[in-house]
Amino acid sequence: MRYSTKTQLLTGSAIVAAGLLFSTHATAQDVSVAFSASELGATAYNPVAASTLNTATSLIFDRLVEQDADQSFHPHLASSWEETSDGMSWTFSLLDGVTFHDGTPFNAEAVQFWIASYAGTENEYLVEAIGSVDVIDELTVRFNMDRPEPNLLYNLASAFMGIPSPTAFAELGDDFGVTAAIGTGPYELQSFEIGLETVLVRNEDYTWGSDLSENTNAGHIETFTFREIPDQSTAFLELRTGGIDLLLGVPTDFLKILEAEANIQIIQMPGVGISYMPINVTAPPFDNILVRQATGMAIDQDGIVAAIYNGVGAPARNFLISSLPEANVDPSLNVMYDPARAGELLDQAGWVMGTDGVRVMGDERLSVSLFTANTTELTRLTQVVQAQLAEIGMEAIITVFDSSTIRDEYRNNAHQLAVRSYDWNNSDILDWFFSGNRLGYPNVSMWEDAEGQRLNDVAMTESATSAERIANFTAYHEYVLSQHLFVPIYQPTQNIAFNSDAITVPDPVRGARFRGQSFVDIKVVE
């Protein structure tokens, strides 16, 4: 009796263990991809409601239009479009024969439903200018604009404007994008383990790829497994050891090493964002503009690019990537490294150098909190920033938060300085991060200013043409810079690395980013 119980226990556990050893052996048709650090922490594949989306979203959902690297727009689910001369009406002709993954047809009604679904979400600004959507016929829609929106095509090409199946979207409610995500894209969502892994399988019916792809039919690869590897250096090791085939976003300090590897190829694309340090203008001592200005002068952008990024990428001097025309501001407003001047400004603000190298005002030490998210690259950059701030006599205490909750911390207004980055290649990002309507997050600087809001409104809603829009946004950008609300640090490049023994990747990459349109062209090396 005694012995038999024991044996049963042992065999029992052995069976359990064996059963759990699921062997998802990687086949040649299964390509694994690691997200870049900035894409981590997406909680749902819901383009309408989510505030973070990753690359896999662009494979599940198609958009009406696509944007190429040269900023030109290409038809996708909209085969053509027309804008009235006053910019108050847009008519889109839709592709015929497109179906969602659930079999329902993609048509004018789907578009109408979809645009309406943005109401009340964080992403509503994308469709704010659209007053109403008319269904002209099965495959034609008309957007009746409340005001001209020169940025409409850009918005429509964004990942946040992937088109979901209306049936599924209505049915699943909050679960849409979590338990299932139904789009028209070249790949279907098979499983989504939050924070871990997303598995996409080929949509065999796909025939409606855009002209940014060589292959407009179903993708070559059967399955894409997207992994969230929180530590970018682990992701790097995975690529090097063959654990993953494609790494979106290689940390720049690993570029040199990867270049030396025979089987690793690197694609460098122009960056679409910057790393920067927002300053909370409501938290003393940063309510004093002199302190903010001094803080900006403490950061040695060139030094950072040279030393920690090995000269890859460029220093950031203002809030926008330099390829945008709105980045050409009055040079005197650009933020430049000048520690001597920073010292003078701080003296002027009443912060004098103390005995232990930290400035003081009366009994108070110039000690501030510096928030960042727990990704390798950001924590690293933050430590460099900390050391550079120490040079001007500012002690920064680093606090690291989980990347998906740090936004809540900003909303709690507990921060003073933070190191973060964004990915967006349009000047309306200024509205996103500095509008008084979004205090805490995204307006991490907590900046509310009548003149600022006026310039913002003008730029966002009163530009009838592209040229006007550029002028308006430049003015807004300059005003933002004059208030010293943040410190620009670095403009990274997009670095994509892949294992050339395993897969081939289209070269050159078309599109502004490496996403859906390029994934359908990826092939396995036989």
């Binding site: 749902a44 979590v178 050891t241 998906s404 909750t405 809540d408």
Partner: protein, 309 residues
Amino acid sequence: MILRYTFMRLLMLIPVSFSISVVIFMIVYLLPGDPIDNLLRVGSSAEDRAELVARYGLDRNLIVQYFVWIGNMFRGEFGEAIVLRRPVADLVAQNLPYSLTLGGLAFLFSSTVGMALGTISAVVRHPVLDRFMRGFILLGSTVPGFWLALLLILFFSVNLGWFPVSGAGGWTSLVLPVLTIGFGGVALVARVTRVALLDAQREDFVTLLHAKGLSSGTILLRHLMPHALLPVVTILALRIGWILGGAVTVEFVFGRPGLGSLLIRALGQRDYPVVQACLLMLALAVMLGTLIGDVAQASMDPRIREKKT
């Protein structure tokens, strides 16, 4: 007899599980700030708030709240994850198999190899072997798990390329984590087995067993091993909690999903419903572990069976 003993042990678990559930329940109240805010995402609407209050009876007194909460737990309703926005039960169900696989294998590995090594070192009394064992046991019980994990990655994944660096795809990704957790476990089990066997060998009855004419092998297997197993079983049962929860460092280094990494992530994200559920599962595992250990011990030792409690 053994059934009665098991039943008694189960009865004794009631006050323990009650106190542990109270502690876990209290977590959101012990945290700074309004407990309701701790259970809601920042910026939730007043309706969301009202709904939560109604669902958990948060407007009633603490005792009522506790019973509402524990009732939900018993039904497997762990609530909704704040950050991850899905039922906590789903998250637990998603992560638990990973923990069980890793924990189960590490458990098997450390118990079999540990007992084998312990037995060998107790039976074969060779000075060189003895020194080797002591060194191994010392290293196994002192080297930090995460460091060992890093070194194993450096050697086996980066240099030799035998096993994947991270993740949970297929059996190869289990080897290094199992080795890392198992290393400490093997050392512990080997030490306990060795000491227990040496102690058992010194018992008077062993002389008499030899005097009966039994061979050393028979004595070892039929008489000494059961004695040595008693403390080993206790230690192993205690290890169940350690292996499931203590695997958190290993899960972290190897980027593996599991209960431990879910808990860590939830703690980082202040996702307290998830934290509560994870802790409850771990506490359950710990209690089950001690229960299994006690029952196993009682099934081997008639003296324990007869103790009234």
